[in-house]
């Protein structure tokens, strides 16, 4: 009887331990100047440090960060980017507050994975995609999203419209609210999707201005 009790307590402890370690996030790479803010306080940054729900990660110009969440998702932040780790329970949710990120789901997620901006929600189950703020031509900036593998469902929060973007396609959500037709964009072929420093360069320096027609580059005769 005593042994049974001990076993039950041990199982309980193991279950608790599993719950407590249900979410694991780590900073796996960074270059340049970055900051991690936790509960309003800036924490020391080092490779291998844990990333927790509620953390806000910022990269300065020229900086790059890679974080791994739940041993299933890599997120690479380009320069001048601010990312909030919202929630990691059944689902992994992050908010892009500025700049651009790559997302790569390489393992089995417990639930779904979504990236939201002020106006757009992009949800996936097993894929690799890029999301970025574009130019601010209307009241709010454009939001660009392109998919390297898998599919991404994009919801516009304000209008309730949604669309699925397939592998190889990209979409520009004008002013963050107006969906356009997904299509292949030439400039996305230059994106560096690599999130593993061991596999080569991680930094992505693609000029996002290429996404827009350059009116000074138009010749017709």
């Amino acid at each position: 009887m005593k042994n049974m009790k001990r076993l039950l307590v041990l199982a309980g402890v193991l279950l608790l331990f599993q719950s407590a370690s249900a979410f694991e996030g780590f900073l796996t790479y960074f270059s340049g100047s970055i900051s991690v803010t936790r509960n309003g306080i800036s924490v020391d940054v080092e490779i291998g440090m844990p990333i927790q729900p509620g953390d806000v990660i910022r990269t300065a110009q020229g900086a790059t960060v890679v974080i791994t969440l739940d041993s299933a998702t890599d997120i690479k932040l380009r320069e001048s980017t601010t990312l909030n780790i919202d929630q990691v329970a059944e689902d992994v949710r992050v908010s892009l507050l500025g700049g651009s990120i790559f997302s790569r789901i390489f393992g089995k997620l417990r639930g779904g994975y979504s990236v939201s901006t002020e106006t757009v929600l992009a949800g996936v189950r097993g894929t690799e995609f890029f999301i970025a703020f574009g130019r601010k031509i209307d009241d709010r900036p454009d939001v660009w999203l392109c998919v390297n593998s898998g599919r991404v469902k994009v919801d516009v929060i304000e209008t309730g419209e949604s669309i699925t973007v397939r592998e190889g396609e990209g979409i520009n959500i004008l002013g963050g609210t107006k969906l356009t037709a997904p299509k292949r964009y030439r400039w996305t072929e230059e994106l560096n999707w690599n999130t593993d420093p061991g596999m080569g360069m991680v930094e992505d320096r693609t000029d996002l201005d290429q996404a827009y027609s350059d009116l000074l580059d138009q010749d017709y005769d």
Partner: protein, 257 residues
């Protein structure tokens, strides 16, 4: 009698210009409409844009297919607001001052449709966004070209200021509206500062990212100066203006390599 006097007066009035100027002066009838068609191919590759152009033109009072040209070359983007270009053109059916010839008797324009000419062309085209204008999609371009005709060693400078408004759909051009003024300046021929000039309006429709259709309308003025035959014959010099309405219809293909 009265009727005869009226008829003689009308005939004299009609003949007066040639009586004053002589048969050696080319006629320049008004109200002539010409049509030009073109097919242009642009291949964008980094800062280079190779270009190929095929042009055909129906000209003159009899609306004959006369001028045709093939132009090959490339633009190179030196800076965001500046492109340079170099081109080679082969053409037939071009008309020059010296093509007004003395048949003795009578004067005619030489039929140059079978004559092949080769030109070397250099282009410098700075362009600027006119952000202060409403709509933010205005571009001013000053297209400058130097042409050297190896057939008659004529050097020509063309200057074309122009303004284009881009109507966007999403974030890409959908319709362009342009107003340009072309000035042809002869550097070693002709007796006037401007050999030809014309204002023209152009509308370009982006059917897709690859195919564009364009339509233009120009009011063209050409100044014909004394030909070699006229000078050799000892006849009086002349400088006459020919005015035509030139409509253009074309297809532009643009590929990104």
């Amino acid at each position: 009698m009265k009727r005869v006097i009226v008829i003689i007066t009308i005939c004299a009035f009609l003949l007066l210009p040639s009586l004053l100027l002589g048969d050696h002066v080319p006629e320049t009838p008004g109200g002539v409409v010409e049509l030009e068609n073109h097919l242009r191919l642009f291949l964008k590759h980094g800062n280079f844009t190779p270009v190929a152009e095929l042009v055909g033109r129906w000209e003159g009072q009899r609306f004959e297919f006369r001028y045709r040209a093939l132009t090959l070359g490339s633009y190179y983007r030196v800076a965001r607001q500046l492109k340079l270009g170099a081109f080679y053109r082969v053409q037939q059916g071009a008309r020059h001052d010296d093509d007004w010839i003395d048949l003795d008797p009578g004067w005619v324009w030489r039929d140059t449709r079978g004559r092949t000419e080769q030109l070397l062309i250099l282009d410098v085209s700075p362009r600027f966004l006119l952000g202060f204008l409403p709509g933010r999609n205005w571009v001013f371009m000053l297209k400058n070209r130097y042409l050297f005709n190896t057939f008659n060693s004529q050097h020509t400078l063309t200057v074309r200021p122009g303004v284009t408004y881009f109507l966007l759909r999403g974030r890409d051009p959908f319709l362009n509206f342009s107003f340009n003024y072309d000035l042809y300046i002869p550097l070693n021929y002709g007796s006037s500062f401007l050999y030809a000039h014309w204002p023209y309006l152009n509308v370009l429709y982006h059917l897709s990212s690859v195919v564009k259709l364009d339509f233009s309308a120009a009011y063209k003025t050409v100044t014909w100066s004394s030909s070699e035959d006229v000078i050799a014959s000892g006849e009086s010099d002349y400088s006459v203006k020919s005015r035509t309405l030139l409509f253009g219809l074309g297809v532009i293909l643009e590929f990104e390599l």
